[in-house]
């Protein structure tokens, strides 16, 4: 389970949410666009480790996040190994894992309320082109809420299969995960319709 906010006093905890989002966005963009070989991937990984140390979460805190998304990693790596070379599959998966782990760092060191406020303020200028900042903030909050749910689905599926002696095979994981996620999305949409009545 990806845990959320961990109270703390590190510089990352005290930094304004808006600044953190901005830095994260730049980092994520840079990683997506610039990481083209294993050495730059290693550099991005080093930056990530450094950020976790800076937040006082340590290497164990980082490891916990990676373990929490292990089935997502397995799924991604597996699907890509079918079509791509091992090197490319590792690069792609590595990039995504680093970005997810960095996003987790944001929720680990920032209260969601602050996150939403910052998003709300940052999106105000978008009002003119018809974007509702409150909707963007809601979407972000729901994403934060949903990550542990989907990760939980993957663990549940894997546990149930292990209990029945099913070997770890990608297609056995992807299909039920997709079905559960889509059904969850459906149910969640109903709940939002029922509760967010403005």
């Amino acid at each position: 389970m990806i845990t959320l906010y961990r109270p703390g006093t590190s510089i990352l905890h005290r930094a304004p949410a808006g600044v953190k989002i901005l830095v994260l966005a730049i980092l994520a963009l840079a990683i997506s666009l610039l990481v083209r070989d294993l050495s730059s991937l290693a550099l991005a990984a080093a930056v990530t480790v450094g950020a976790y140390l800076l937040a006082g979460l340590g290497v164990t805190g980082l490891a916990a996040q990676v373990v929490a998304i292990r089935w997502i990693i397995v799924t991604m790596l597996g699907t890509q190994l079918v079509f791509l070379s091992a090197r490319l599959a590792a690069l792609n998966t590595g990039r995504v894992v680093i970005v997810i782990v960095l996003v987790s760092l944001l929720s680990l060191t920032t209260l969601t309320a602050d996150l939403l406020d910052a998003t709300d303020r940052a999106c105000q200028p978008l009002r003119r082109i018809g974007v509702d900042p409150a909707q963007v903030a809601l979407l972000l909050a729901m994403t934060v809420t949903t990550i542990p749910v989907i990760a939980g689905f993957a663990s549940t599926i894997r546990d149930a299969q292990r209990a029945r002696g099913v070997p770890l095979r990608l297609q056995f994981l992807v299909v039920p995960l997709l079905i559960m996620s889509l059904r969850h999305a459906d149910d969640l949409a109903d709940a939002v319709a029922a509760r967010a009545s403005e």
Partner: protein, 229 residues
């Protein structure tokens, strides 16, 4: 139409070829309304029409004087809906935030929102989990959270679709107490738990998409159990 709080006039619902409800006419003013019936009989479909999640294919529905098909937004502000799967109703990351979500868009100071949230969590025994990730709660605690969040919006009508489906005895009892004993609002509850149905003021029984029986709870439940004996 008669002007009851909940009115169905010859309502049918079809999903493609499949008829989920047909020819349902009923007027309900009772405070606690129980819905029973076999799997697939149309209970959820009926419940979901009450806040416009499902629209009638033909016929007329009025809830609290509103037409769910065209006034869903106004209606949903006044109707709280508790689903059976507690996982899917949690919208915000932490327990307190999810409850506070029900006050979204209300003109209240931040301090007042915080105080009210704390009081609501207290009433449902969730205070110690206030800042915990909502998904770290147990199934029963999640369902309590869902109910807490829905009641927190102070709806005029509460609709619950199998609110105790995933709960153990203790939590079933708690939900039952909150819904049936402590609630002052009108309640519609679809359930397979006959103890919940027995505590209602009227019970409707659906079979094969039709309203098969209705009336005094003990009598309706007795006939239901007799038919399935």
């Amino acid at each position: 139409m008669s002007g009851a709080r909940i009115e169905f006039d010859d309502v049918s619902v079809a999903f493609g070829e499949r008829r989920a409800l047909h020819g349902v006419s009923v007027a309900l003013d009772q405070r606690r309304i129980g819905i029973i019936g076999s799997n697939g009989s149309g209970k959820s479909t009926f419940a979901r029409m009450l806040n416009g999640l499902v629209a009638p294919s033909s016929g007329q529905v009025r809830v609290l004087g509103l037409d769910p098909a065209h006034q869903a937004k106004q209606l949903r502000r006044r109707v709280g809906f508790v689903f059976s799967n507690p996982d899917a109703q949690i919208i915000m990351p932490t327990v307190a935030e999810d409850v506070a979500f029900s006050l979204r868009g209300r003109e209240l100071s931040l301090a007042e929102k915080r105080d009210r949230t704390a009081a609501a969590l207290e009433r449902f025994g969730l205070t110690e989990h206030a800042d915990a990730p909502a998904h770290s709660l147990s199934g029963g605690q999640k369902q309590l959270l869902a109910l807490c969040a829905v009641l927190f919006g102070d709806p005029d009508l509460v609709v619950a679709d199998e609110p105790t489906a995933l709960l153990d005895l203790a939590n079933t009892r708690r939900i039952r107490r909150h819904l049936l004993d402590e609630l002052s609002q009108q309640l519609v509850v679809a359930t397979h738990d006959m103890r919940i149905a027995a505590q209602c003021d009227i019970v409707l029984r659906f079979e094969n998409g039709g309203l098969h029986d209705q009336g005094e709870p003990a009598a309706v439940i007795h006939r239901y159990e007799r038919d399935h004996a």
